[in-house]
Amino acid sequence: MSKTFDRLVSGIDSDGHGAYVEEHDEESNSMVINMGPVHPSTHGVLRLLLELDGETVLRCEPIIGYLHTGMEKECEDQNWRGAVTIVTRMDYLAQFANEQVYSMAVEELLGIDLPPRAVAIRCMIAELNRLSSHLVWFGTTGLDMGAMSAMFYGFREREMILDFFEMVTGLRMNNGYIIPGGVWVDLPDGWDAALEAILDVMPKRLDEYEALLNENPIFLERTSGVGVLSRDDALALGATGPIARASGVDWDLRRDMPYEGYEGVTFAVPTATSGDVYGRYRVRMAEMRETLELIRHFADNMPEGDFKNMDPKLTPPPRSELNRSMEAVIHHFKLVTQGFTVPEGETYARVESPRGELGCYIVSDGGTSPYRCHVRDPSFVNLQALGPMAQGQLIADLIATIASTDPIMGGVDR
């Protein structure tokens, strides 16, 4: 263990000096080098400070902040409705999970109920989002391990889901669709046929993916026994989601602390005990199949009725009312210019995002915008587990390990 490493890390922590230094430590004969922030396999702008002995990683320290855009602070400048457009951009592959958790927190402070249709739409689209997010993970993981076609297939199927998002929400990413009180608009005509097309084709495609990689000797060689995270480490570091489940932590918020539409729904939570990259791969693949079942459940049981809470203090009146009623005009102008107020208080809401526990801590001072909106992003917490995972393994295996943690830097840095 070299002192150079400690010096560089503490230098970065205090004044940012030594940020790009790469040094050889005479004493311990180890090398301190940087991987990233601009590196094709670090999934964004993750930078790792590595202490290497030859090709063996002695220590690995993730250094973050390269994508920091102050989004939590930005929320404080928006009103409660406008902040949805900010939170959706944090973990940009799990945009609906972000919107959902933020909306849940705001609704709890408002003390309002959601119409059943809104709940079902939210859960359905959030599950679709889990599928699209895992497909990106599948593609990039395959690519990182040299399985180029996995990338093509994953992104091809994801495209169908993005098309569905476009059909329903008008945008493919950063949708801003789930809002406090419900969803932005109702499902369009023909949504069920479109969804059926996805549900129809996906199981066959998942079979293909598994035929491609599950038993592939090269893939197995690169993933089994690589990047092992023990159950104790996973618990101690607060890892959640597929990473924790692959290490034998049987914990899924949808089942263990059910929220919104998950109450009373039974589904399997896939786990593994190996805690290695291959275990995480198997857990995510199994999760995709479970997600398909859940989507079908929500779609089949889609209730009729309102798609958002129609309280005039919260939702602007329909446009047709504006020409007729003075009250409607007043509500419209007030909601548009100021937004609604949320009673004073603070709360924490949590959902199971594709990457783990996504939490939103909201403080309101009774005004029209959040006093504080903190997001507990699973990528951020899971990234801490990279150190123990990487320790003692080869630098080439580090690539596989990073891919298996599936970090989204937008969520890490917020």
């Binding site: 406008g82 457009t85 476009e166 059909m167 008008g170 945008l171 369009p188 293909e208 491609l212």
Partner: protein, 162 residues
């Protein structure tokens, strides 16, 4: 050697080679977005040709990205742009800032501001991307930099199936 497993993988790849192609030859072939798509804005007119926009600035106020600039002015008897008292003298949307959230369309009380499915927004200078009222008004021509030979309707089944 693990030949059978490698062979299974290869069959998958070969099967996919003969599937229908998923990509389109943009820009000759364009895929049209779904009707709900939030693309470039337009400012609508009444059937009699008067502008619907009344320069109320609600859209500018609600925009989370501060992308809209509206300066209202009074209509006079000689110069009438909109039916009511006020009209938008200056109306600009900065597409370098706009995040296509659609809040402005929701806010507009007169349904003057609408979103189209137009997504080809590019320019070579910053000024190019600040669209003025002349460019946004509904009868302004849509500028395309490339001829489209074929347009594909939006369809989820289009991709990935065969």
């Amino acid at each position: 050697m693990a030949l059978p497993e490698i062979f299974t993988g290869l069959t998958t790849v070969i099967k996919n080679v003969f599937r229908r192609k998923d990509t389109v030859g943009y820009p000759e072939v364009r895929r049209l977005p779904f009707p709900r798509y939030k693309g470039r804005h337009i400012l609508d007119r009444h059937p009699d040709g008067l502008e619907k926009c009344i320069g109320c600035e609600l859209c500018a106020g609600v925009c989370p990205a501060d992308a809209i600039r509206v300066v209202g002015a009074e209509n006079t008897a000689e110069e009438r742009f909109s039916p009511g008292e006020r009209y938008a003298q200056i109306y600009q949307i900065n597409y370098l800032r706009c995040i296509f959230c659609g809040l402005c369309v929701e806010a507009c009380p007169t349904e003057a501001l609408l979103m189209t499915t137009e997504y080809e927004l590019s320019g070579s200078t910053r000024e190019d991307l600040i669209y003025t009222k002349e460019q946004l008004i509904v009868d302004a021509p849509i500028i395309r930099h490339w001829d489209t030979k074929k347009e594909l309707p939006p369809d989820i089944n289009l991709k990935g199936t065969s």
